[in-house]
Amino acid sequence: MTRLTDLPPAQAKRLAELECPDFTTRPWVKGPALPQCRVAIVSSAGLVVRGEEPFRGRDADYRAIPADTRAKDLLISHISINFDRTGFQEDWNVVFPLDRLNELAADAVIGEVAQTHYSFMGATDPVLMEPHARELAGRLKDDRVDTVILPPV
């Protein structure tokens, strides 16, 4: 089950036809060379650190995930149940590749890894996320992040 054609037809149709924002601008920021970049993960998996309040419904805000978070302390609270969770259960890097980024930084393939990473809940209307995303940009820059990888689920 890897492509839309592999999904049940109704689910594939819903995903393919999901309303998307119609942006009129085309922003573009040239990133640094990988050995100089400082990378943060901003996931839309509804990730929360264990003990914090899970996302409810379609919350538009985001949660912080400190870089010293361990795999045992990260939970998925995404509202959708129509995606696989067994990969994450076995290995959090399937969704939140913090170990892999740390290894790439240790090997000097990338520059550095951010002090804090973040998660939204991806089923939320992106228009509602916008003010939170713009506020988050300031926090990322305070952490000297210049490159953001955005994994969904």
């Binding site: 601008t25 640094p32 129509n82 995606f83 067994t86 892999r100 790439l104 953001v148 969904p152």
Partner: protein
């Protein structure tokens, strides 16, 4: 994720989105995206395969070095090898679910099945060092009691003041599914998500119980409970046809 990329890029941050649904990405047109041919829920591909995961990450991050955008949408070429079923995987138990029994029989079967799986789940925790249970804040036995209570027609109540009863039910069901799927994956075999899902939804008392609870909740006068039961308990691909 494509929309977040747009907003963050407008705030002067270079971004690259991972895309699991290419048509959405093509319509949103983020600054950069790497489409990956993996199932939903696995944006970096196979679990326990660091080399493969790094290839995905680097394919994405290398788009940030390019100068020929916007918009850049590239395709990752390789499928997830763990999407294939493992013929060596065995069901945790050979146990016929009492799908056609009374609600009380179904509830008892379900609760005893949770106990039956405890050894398997302990093995998983020993192997992995942790479990992903915890959204509900309840023990797995209490999650089971909450769901079994719905089979028995009990009034739904939330043991946690911060969760409404329907939300409590949703998180308890999430924890139950995680418990079963982790228990089912314990051992040296590498079952695909489909193998585990087929087992859970077609061959366990828990799967039968969740179908029954969903059906019962859909007749509730509580619209929020109906919403949660209808959409956030049984995956769309597993909902049984009426009759």
């Amino acid at each position: 994720m494509s929309a977040l990329g747009h907003y963050l890029e407008e705030e002067d941050l270079a971004t690259v989105a991972i895309s699991l649904t290419r048509p959405q990405t093509e319509r949103t047109r983020p600054p950069r995206a790497l489409w990956v041919p993996f199932e939903l829920g696995r944006p970096f591909g196979p679990p326990s395969d660091p080399g493969f995961q790094k290839r995905v990450i680097l394919a994405a991050l290398r788009l940030v070095e390019r100068e020929d955008g916007p918009v850049l949408i590239e395709d990752f070429p390789d499928d997830d090898p763990r999407a294939r079923p493992d013929p060596g995987w065995r069901l945790p138990f050979d146990h016929a679910a009492a799908a056609d029994g009374s609600a009380e029989v179904m509830a008892r079967e379900f609760e005893s099945e949770i106990d039956l799986l405890r050894g398997h789940h302990d093995r998983w925790v020993t192997q992995r060092g942790y479990s992903t249970l915890g959204l509900s804040g309840l023990s797995i036995a209490d999650c089971g009691r909450l769901v079994a209570g719905q089979l028995r027609g009990e009034v739904l109540a939330s043991p946690r003041a911060t969760f409404s009863p329907p939300l409590m039910l949703r998180f308890a069901v999430d924890d139950l599914k995680a418990y079963y799927l982790e228990a089912g994956a314990a051992g040296s075999a590498k079952p695909s998500s489909r193998q585990l899902g087929d087992w859970f939804w077609n061959a366990t008392a828990a799967g039968a119980a969740l179908h029954a609870v969903r059906a019962a909740c859909l007749t509730s006068s509580d619209d929020r409970l109906k919403l949660i039961a209808g959409n956030f308990m049984v995956p769309a691909a597993r909902v049984l046809a009426p009759g």
